[in-house]
Symmetry: C2
Subunit: 399 residues, 2 copies
């Protein structure tokens, strides 16, 4: 008879993203894509990676090609602990777990901390990849009131926090909005979460990409026992290595290690050792300023184009770092429909709705500015401006 | 207040393996370890990997360091499909998903096919890593009667198969037993599963490691729509790259892709491209015979030592491939207690009990012979023989 593949309920709940299908066309060379979350390949330190690889394969080929410990390569864990300890509180290397990209940290977090129906708090909007990872474990999402400075801590009530398994946020140059949470908000959030006994999960892939002002203290540095911190080498070295990390209090760390063992045994020894070599002699602190300079210029270019091309009814933020700008269109405009029209004119972006855990706002969208050349930014934003003006003109209220 | 980390029920069910703790001491250089599941580093094609890496970083550095498709690097997927199609039935590349080690395939399988309480069938004993991965999703295991030729198909009843989400097995040189399922059993198993409509999951990391006789047809080749097949480069190239793959019918494949996207976005582009380069020009077919020759000699050395040192009451198999020998001690001997004594004399192995999904047999153990030099095999087996003789002498029945 025909073989019966009975899907789990969680697999049945997985839906193929219509957006993902549309965005496949953005791979065509004629398309100007503001959709990707990809870092600019111009920032990849190819020569450095070549040297590091050569060294690893010369000095420790067998260890680099053999199975390794689930927790990760010890010297790399120590490097990460040292770097995170710059902020103040000493973070022991024993809390660091190397993951196969930061995305794996989200999966392990879901496995270890979410039961069906568990209350999980997120920003409004939040990172789509986290919503997807957590959703597999069927939590009940609570979406916290947020503005251009992140979670509105003044509006947070003890009832909202009570009983949450954790509160997930990206304080630095959040994906999708590009916004950063100011110091006072961070302090207030840490105090409120601590008072409620609710763990904070701080996802920080973009923290190093501040264009100018100094870095703000991490939530982790403010309360090491109350925060699970997630970092990544994807935006400061290269994402194709899939190397991230999670810092968690020892007993949570131990459970995540067990979950990771079942998930992929360990992250590739090969790439861990290469990245460790590449990081030596302070390389990252010479390299990151180059990324910041490039992204700041790209951001300025897009902001200038938006100023020039977008009508007054459209709102957007002015990021101080990271890779994204968030756009609010007038109510009634569906950015999904806008995308279909933009694709016809070879321009792409990501509609904002999927970034909402609940109550999606259809009139929002995310623009990435880091990989597109300047002239194409100008031309692409001009096309979007024309399309948005047409949409506004067609709104019932404007009729 | 103190932050409350409430663990999920699945995390609470994860237990730290006492064995794993004991085995940590096996990393001491004075310990002769038959415990590891590690391939011999002497078989790692270091120079080949160096050339492949150099080529990838010269010809496609940006693509190798950038994000890639969740499904995997297309040319590598095509290579795998071509190789699997040698057996007969054409396997389309669209069914191949590249995973972060074969272990990740097990995790994705659990996510997509197991609900709490789902019936999942396994061999007796079965691969520990699979039991761990599936257990996170809380199935009800059924452990099928098995002998030195694998599942006893004659003893399988329709009732046993009915309603199972899948039947998981390792037909080639199984971990932990080293046994191989003969052709008639394979044919019977495929026919029985097909008649019951139950998917087979064929885990095949050791299939290429046959010492002499020809390869037997895969279950996949016998019924491509009824089998999910899992393979790995860990045992034929190197495990530190964490590169495996899952072949599944399109609609199951599609769900696994979605689950993988949430799990780690994709397997490192860097290692996928390196492995693809290393595989060119038929390298693997020149390389695998070297591994077989080494492992066959190591296996013979251990079998000769067992013959010499182990008392007549102990049974073990004579593998025709792979990395493991399975030992049955007389009833009443606990191999966990034996391990503690062996460790005191600097010899290690893995007790058999954790490999049983239900009703663990305490009087079994697994020996790996691939990484230990010949003289140490002789000396280590001698120690085990002495300890086992003492255990037998101390058994109540022998008193």
């Amino acid at each position: 008879m025909t073989t019966q593949y009975t899907l789990s309920r969680r697999a049945q709940a997985l839906t193929s993203s219509a957006i993902r299908e549309i965005l496949k066309v953005t791979e065509r060379p004629e398309v100007t894509s503001f959709a990707g979350g990809l870092p600019s390949p111009a920032t990849f330190p190819v020569e450095r990676m070549r040297q590091a690889t050569e060294k690893v394969l010369r000095e420790a080929p067998e260890a680099a090609l053999q199975y390794g410990p689930t927790e990760g390569f010890t010297p790399l864990r120590e490097w990460i602990a040292d770097r995170l300890s710059r902020g103040g509180a000493r973070i022991p290397a024993s809390r660091v777990l190397i993951t196969t990209g930061s995305q794996q940290g989200l999966d392990l977090l879901g496995k270890v901390l979410i039961d069906e129906g568990s209350k999980v708090l997120v920003e409004t909007p939040s990172y789509l990849g986290a919503l997807q990872a957590f959703s597999l474990f069927a939590p009940q999402f609570g979406s916290l009131p947020s503005d251009e400075q992140g979670i509105v801590t003044d509006a947070l009530t003890p009832e909202q926090l009570a009983g949450a398994r954790f509160l997930y946020c990206l304080p630095n140059f959040q994906n999708p909005t590009g916004r950063r949470m100011p110091l006072e908000r961070r302090q207030a959030l840490v105090a409120l979460a601590d008072a409620a006994g609710v763990p904070l999960v701080e996802d920080d892939p973009y923290g190093e990409l501040s264009y100018g002002g100094e870095a703000l203290p991490s939530l982790l540095s403010m309360n090491p026992d109350g925060v699970i911190y997630m970092g990544s080498f994807s935006k400061v070295l290269a994402p194709g290595l899939r190397l991230g990390y999670v810092v968690a209090p020892e007993h949570v760390h131990a459970k995540m290690v067990q979950a990771k063992q079942a998930a992929d045994l360990h992250t590739p020894s090969f790439s861990q050792r290469i990245v460790y070599e590449a990081l030596q002699d302070g390389f990252i602190d010479r390299h990151i300023p180059e990324i910041r300079t490039l992204y700041a210029a790209q951001c300025q270019r897009m902001l200038a184009a938006l100023e020039r091309e977008f009508p007054a009814q459209v709102k957007w933020n002015r990021p101080e770092g990271g890779m994204f700008i968030w756009v609010d269109l007038p109510g009634g405009i569906d950015s999904g429909a806008l995308l279909a029209k933009a694709i016809e004119r070879n321009v792409a972006f990501v509609p904002g709705a999927p970034f909402y855990a609940v109550d999606p706002k259809e009139n929002t969208l995310r623009l990435s500015f880091v990989t597109v050349p300047g002239e194409k930014i100008d031309a692409g934003v001009k096309v979007l401006g024309e399309l948005i003006k047409a949409e506004i003109a067609a709104l019932p209220a404007a009729a």
